[in-house]
Every structure is written in structure tokens, then in C-alpha cells.
Symmetry: C2
Amino acid sequence: MQFSLKPIGHVAADASHEELRHRTAVSKIVIDHKYARGLKDLEGFSHLYVLFLLHKAPKGKGNLMVHPRGRADLEMRGVFATRSPHRPNPIALTLVKLLSRRGRVLTVKGLDAYDGTPVLDLKPYDRHDSTPRPRVPLWWKKLELESKRARRS
Amino acid sequence: MQFSLKPIGHVAADASHEELRHRTAVSKIVIDHKYARGLKDLEGFSHLYVLFLLHKAPKGKGNLMVHPRGRADLEMRGVFATRSPHRPNPIALTLVKLLSRRGRVLTVKGLDAYDGTPVLDLKPYDRHDSTPRPRVPLWWKKLELESKRARRS
């Protein structure tokens, strides 16, 4: 059983690796002419999910155990307990803030996707997608703290 | 440019259509033996994203304008401003509460997927996925209110 995917557009980003990683980048999403009509009414939402293809993840490298954030010094974790790009189905998901739409070009904040990344879907975000205090494990909290410190320095 | 997807497991649910729709159902996700190792450490998270295939959405019906919730009495909207199953790439995304994991079987609450649905990915949910007061358009609020009333009656 196999299913195929078709990109609906791509990311246009000139932010640095650090800005993308820290979700501070402002990027554009350019939707193909063919799919542009599907964007109607999107501007009513403040936040969107962007599903995009992890097209730079090496093919066939659908690892089941990964080092979080690619850091070989950290204990390996089950891939479904991480957001690693090396997953059986190379699809990433990021919540972004929709700053504006002009025709088939969206300007968004917080997208951690490189320039040229194929976009698969956009979905509106509503209160069902939000949960106030999600529990995460200690090893995840430590990673978060480290990346917060890196952002400050 | 085409990419293919492989299911990593499936949904086992005996809830009613209404329970699934209202996100009150408790369901199981059974991960294939082949991918089971990737579940390690997942139980540290209270909430997960489940990406699943909308395998019952008619093929080739990648509509760009849809009636919200399939209701022909409502104005058509751009598909990317809805969570309609009839989208160019038939991938759904739902936030669920992880109640437990026993080996390769997860018990989750809030999954709006039918019994037998192929699962594509699981991702841990953290604070980056949460935004307190997302703005949604008026037509969306009205739909929400109606469905809340339907739940009560």
C-alpha cells in the first residue's frame, strides 16, 4: 500500500539557519498557480499549520532511533518521540503565524523550513489544536533550556 | 516530483461517528512490528500529533473549494482554510491525548479517525505547538457554536 504526494508550492526564505531553527524567521510560502484558489478565506486565521516535505533528509534513512537534534552526545530516542527529519515518512509539521496573504504568496513567522522546501498542505489552526500545559519528558526540557540559552548568547 | 508514503500502523476504533467527530472517543493506534522500536520514549509526552491518511476521500477529488464540514447549505471556502478531507494531499492531522502505551499499541483520546485508518506519523507535542488565543474567522466560530449545541442536545 503506497500513496503519492504532490507539492502544492514551496518556501522562499533568506533567513539564517539559526533564525529558522529558533522560529524567529519571517518566510514566504509561494503556492503554485494550480492550487492558488484553495487559499481563499485563509487570511481569517491568525495561525496555520504548514506540512512540508523533508526533501533533504537522505532517502531510505527512515531511522527508528535517533539522536535528538542530531547531537551524537545525547542518548538515542525513538524517532516518534522526536521531531527528527529522519522519519519513516519525511513530513514535517510547523505551527506558524500568518502575517499576510497577497494572492498566492503567504508571509509567515516561525517556519523552520529552508528555502526551496516543497510544501504539502496548509491547515487552519483553532482551539482544538491548543492545549495549555502539555507534559514533556525531562530530557526534552533540558534540550529546550539549552536552546534557549544558545538563543540568548 | 512525486513522493510516496508508507503507513506505519493503523487505527483501531469502535466509537460512533458522533464520538469521533466530537473528539471524545478513546481509540487505539496499533503500530506495525517493523516500526515499533520508534515508539520508545513516547510515553513521556502527554499529547501527540497523529498524521493519518484520508484513505476514504475519493481519489482525484482534490477540490480547491469545499463546503465546510460537507454542508451544502454553507458557502464554499478555500480548502486550505478548512480541515476538509478532500484536499490535494489527503493527510489529516489531529492532536490527541496519550493515555497509555503498551508495547506497540497506544491508547489515545480525541482521534477523529475511523477504524482501519492508515497512520503515517506520530510527533510529540510541545509548547511551540500551542498558542493561547488563535484568531479564527466568524464563519468558523459559527460552525463551532453549532457543533457545541449539537453535542449538548
